[in-house]
């Protein structure tokens, strides 16, 4: 799976590596991605990397590919068969609940509403859709001079289930690659837990720039990998409970979360255009 293809992009909530359905959907171009493993565009931002690295890689990527069209990686050609925005295809895709919510992202009044819908759905696919689109949502808010707290609720939702082992169903798996099915499930589940931690790490990075205490919790991804060293989900979950949760909760407790939420709500009432609920 090409790491710089649409399957591995923040803006495609329907796939991540071997997890997902047959087609992807780009929430920027508003197109169904028929061969998401073979296409890309200049706006690509990688799901599998931490924020600082995503930005480094994106510079190379945007130099090479156009922003306004989805093209094939190998040939560099735009092939209309690779994408679709036909109503019949969109209607068909909406039969899938996760896709339905992902398609609404950016179409309805509030993007956070679509993310909340995804948060409420069971399964790893809904979670990956929420986490992927959330990374883009928070990044957009920050780029528009928003506060790190634009990701506050997404952070908290993710923190609340950080130690849970994701439910990766057999129907959620697109390919087994060179592994056996059960092993693929474990590797996918590990990647989902680390995607949760990546979103938390994103928010921590933004908070660090804005001098908030939660910004001191940097380096969680590396510490998790150093401490566990294998794809054992129980070990990872144990480490997260013992190390990661105390580290972040000591800087952003539930009480502080409630206070910040109330401030955020007040700001959105005072300045409706502030990037707290929509971008």
């Amino acid at each position: 799976m090409n790491l710089h293809s649409c399957q591995n992009c923040w803006f495609n909530g329907l796939q991540y590596g071997a997890l997902g359905i047959a087609v992807g959907y780009c929430s920027v171009h508003k197109k169904i991605l028929n061969i998401a493993d073979g296409t890309t565009c200049g706006l690509h931002l990688r799901k599998d990397l931490p924020l600082y690295r995503v930005k480094q890689v994106a510079v190379h990527h945007s130099d090479k590919y156009p922003e306004n069209m989805i093209i094939r990686i190998i040939s560099g050609i735009e092939d209309k068969r690779d994408i679709s925005s036909d109503d019949k295809d969109l209607l068909s895709l909406r039969q899938d609940a996760v896709a339905d919510a992902a398609l609404d992202f950016g179409l309805l009044g509030s993007k956070i509403e679509s993310l909340a819908q995804l948060k409420a759905m069971p399964g790893a696919r809904a979670e990956v859709a929420m986490l992927s689109l959330a990374r883009g949502y928070i990044s957009n808010c920050i780029e528009r001079n928003g506060k790190w707290t634009s990701g506050l609720h997404l952070y908290w939702w993710t923190r609340s289930r950080l130690t849970d082992i994701p439910d990766v169903g057999v129907r959620d798996i697109r390919a087994v690659g060179a592994t056996q099915l059960a092993r693929q499930q474990i590797l996918i589940a590990w990647s989902v837990v680390m995607l949760r931690l990546t979103l938390i790490d994103d928010v921590v990075e933004y908070a660090a720039i804005q001098d908030d205490p939660i910004g001191k919790a940097k380096g969680l991804l590396d510490r998790a990998a150093e401490s566990t060293q294998t794809f054992n989900l129980r070990s990872l979950s144990k480490w997260l409970k013992a190390e990661a949760i105390p580290s972040i909760d000591s800087r952003l407790s539930y009480t502080r979360y409630v206070e910040l939420s109330q401030e955020l709500h007040k700001e959105s009432m005072d300045m409706p255009n502030v990037c707290v609920d929509d971008v």
Partner: protein, 143 residues
């Protein structure tokens, strides 16, 4: 973990690439293995390695509209191309990595390790090859 017991002495390594030919590695390019596997410099990057897989289906997936090429470890070795096996890659990629897989981020090492396992990845290593263009033509055939 792989679907079959791949043997370097008799089983091929596959690579999905353009129909016109296999990408040409650069012998003296940065030899960080994690950088290579994670594809950090994106398309057109210089690398002394070529990613290959034990599984035809995986290579076909990467090829998309291109072609699946194949080579054999022994044929490659005769042309001065070393072989970094999947097992060796996995053993190098723990913590912050060892040898040429040493890397500043343990998380990125783990991601690379996951990809090696999922894709059954092996790296033909061109660092000692004098003429990579001719060597690639010689050792890779259409599958």
């Amino acid at each position: 973990m792989t679907t079959k017991n791949w043997k370097p002495s008799k089983d091929p390594l596959f690579r999905g690439d353009r129909k016109s030919g296999v990408n040409v590695p650069k012998a003296n390019a940065d030899d960080s293995i994690v950088r290579h596997i994670l594809f950090l410099e994106g398309p057109g990057r210089e690398t002394p390695y070529l990613s290959t897989t034990e599984e035809y289906d995986v290579a076909e997936y990467f090829a998309q509209s291109g072609t699946v090429w194949k080579t054999f470890v022994n044929d490659a070795k005769k042309e001065g191309v070393s072989h970094i096996s999947r097992a060796e890659l996995l053993s190098l990629m723990k913590g912050n990595g060892k040898g040429n897989a040493k890397w500043s981020s343990a998380f990125e090492v783990m991601q690379a390790r996951r990809y090696v396992e999922q894709w059954g990845e092996h790296l033909p290593d061109f660092r000692q090859v004098v003429n990579p263009i001719e060597t690639v033509k010689k050792i890779f055939k259409k599958s």
